[in-house]
């Protein structure tokens, strides 16, 4: 019997090691898998490469991971916010490397990683600082920049409900990067508010098919906190 469920977040992240690349879902705190991140911090591993839209808000989640000094590099679109003080301090101290990617390119590169594409040509960023030194091509009247896929060892995502085969549904705008990160990591770990029996999730409405998910852990549901813009 295939059962991808894990009893605790700590067990679900037990094999994430030093130097791992880890995608973390969420847009600000909506969809951020806070309890998986807490478990990762508790494990004590460092030298991580983190892929996330932001670089932490306030004190919890990605911000706490950065504050704890566990992140060597972050790939994100929008690091600087009014409550990104832990990232700001690490960046100014030179202890964290930043790869800044336009948000749609971040999504497209992650999707490409999950979809097995070798690269993509994107119009976003053409002629800007973020495309400097990159190969370009003129296709059918428009200019494009060559960008490479992003893959990771692990993806930590948050969903609303999941089953033991790894099928997932999300909640409102907490969906954001979850479905594409699930595709692009060697091992995807989903924290869900509820594990349900097989067949309970409407097959017409499953958002992430279980083939993209390796581990599911049910956690106490905490409402995402508000963040400063």
């Amino acid at each position: 019997m295939i059962d991808k469920t894990f009893a605790t977040a700590l067990e679900a992240v037990a094999d994430i090691g030093n130097g791992a690349s880890v995608m973390i879902g969420g847009f600000g705190t909506a969809g951020m898998p806070d309890q998986l991140i807490d478990a990762l911090i508790a494990r004590g591993v460092g030298d991580l490469t983190i892929i996330n839209n932001n670089a932490g808000n306030g004190e919890a989640g990605v911000a706490a991971l950065i504050k704890a000094g566990r992140v060597r590099k972050i790939i994100c679109s929008f690091p600087r916010q009014s409550d990104s003080h832990h990232f700001d301090a690490a960046y100014r101290a030179g202890t964290i490397e930043l790869e800044l990617v336009p948000q749609g390119n971040l999504a497209a590169r992650i999707h490409a990683g999950g979809a097995g594409l070798g690269a993509i040509f994107t119009p976003t960023g053409f002629g800007t600082l973020l495309a400097q030194g990159k190969e370009t091509r003129h296709i059918d009247g428009r200019d494009y920049v060559l960008e490479y896929p992003i893959k990771a060892d692990f993806a930590l995502i948050k969903a609303q409900r999941g089953d033991r085969w790894g099928n997932l549904v999300y909640r409102k705008t907490a969906r954001n990067f979850g479905p594409i990160m699930a595709m692009a990591a060697r091992c995807t770990i989903a924290q869900v508010a509820q594990i349900v029996d097989l067949g309970v999730l409407d097959p017409e409405a499953v958002v992430t098919p279980g083939i993209f998910v390796q581990r599911v852990v049910q956690v106490e549901r905490a409402q995402s906190p508000a963040v400063a813009a």
């Binding site: 847009f27 679109s77 600087r80 002629g127 800007t128 409102k172 969906r175 508000a226």
Partner: protein
């Protein structure tokens, strides 16, 4: 000098958004445009973080922090609205499905180049978010900004000095003093606040402006 308030600017932009348009309102000033869309006009507001059919802010106490907009403010979903993931959200932009986006700006050039993501100052931490995708993705990119900086420099310029967000992507600029069309033919004045002359606008901007035909 008569200047439009930020609310009046938002009201002015809202007048140009037609029924049935799929629209993304950038964070900051453009968010205000939503307040001036008449309720009898069906406009589909898209938010980059994965919703279409975005409604107004909830009443205080009813916030759901998993239902937010790109500025991470709590919003609501209209009946008929839906959610989707980030690859779909940015396909809506890049794929040309979005009719209009309204963005703020540091500078816009007369040929429609946009600078709105980075001041380029040493020590500034850059953040781009969805600005570059929106700028080049929507069929029409509209900018909303005060025409002059606090120092009195025009933000409508011959050539942007700030790092660019997108090349030749802006078609119209709404400011507190005038509305401009920009593009390959250069900048032209669409309308001015009462009492302002085109000569005065030329003096303020330092640009050889003409009235739009």
């Amino acid at each position: 000098m008569n200047r439009l308030t930020r609310d009046q600017m938002a009201e002015r932009v809202a007048r140009d958004i037609p029924e049935g348009a799929y629209v993304n309102l950038g964070i900051g000033l453009p968010t205000k445009v939503a307040d001036y869309l008449p309720i009898d006009r069906d406009v589909f507001l898209q938010s980059e973080n994965g919703l279409l059919g975005m409604g107004p802010a909830p009443t205080p106490g009813d916030e759901d922090w998993e239902l937010i907009n790109a500025g991470k403010q709590a919003v609501t979903l209209l009946s008929g609205g839906c959610f989707f993931h980030h690859a779909d959200s940015f396909a809506m932009m890049r794929g040309g499905h979005l009719d209009i986006c309204v963005l703020g700006a540091f500078q816009v050039s007369v040929n429609g180049d946009l600078a709105n993501w980075h001041t380029g100052e040493p020590g500034a931490i850059p953040a781009v978010g969805g600005a570059m995708d929106l700028a080049i993705g929507a069929r029409q990119t509209l900018v909303m900004m005060e025409l002059l900086t606090r120092q009195g420099d025009s933000k409508l310029v011959e050539t942007c000095t700030y790092p660019l967000t997108g090349l030749g992507c802006v078609s119209r600029v709404y400011t507190d003093l005038a509305v401009f069309d920009v593009g390959p033919a250069g900048a032209a004045v669409v309308e001015m606040t009462p009492g302002l002359s085109i000569d005065e606008l030329r003096r303020l901007t330092g640009l050889p402006l003409d009235a739009a035909v």
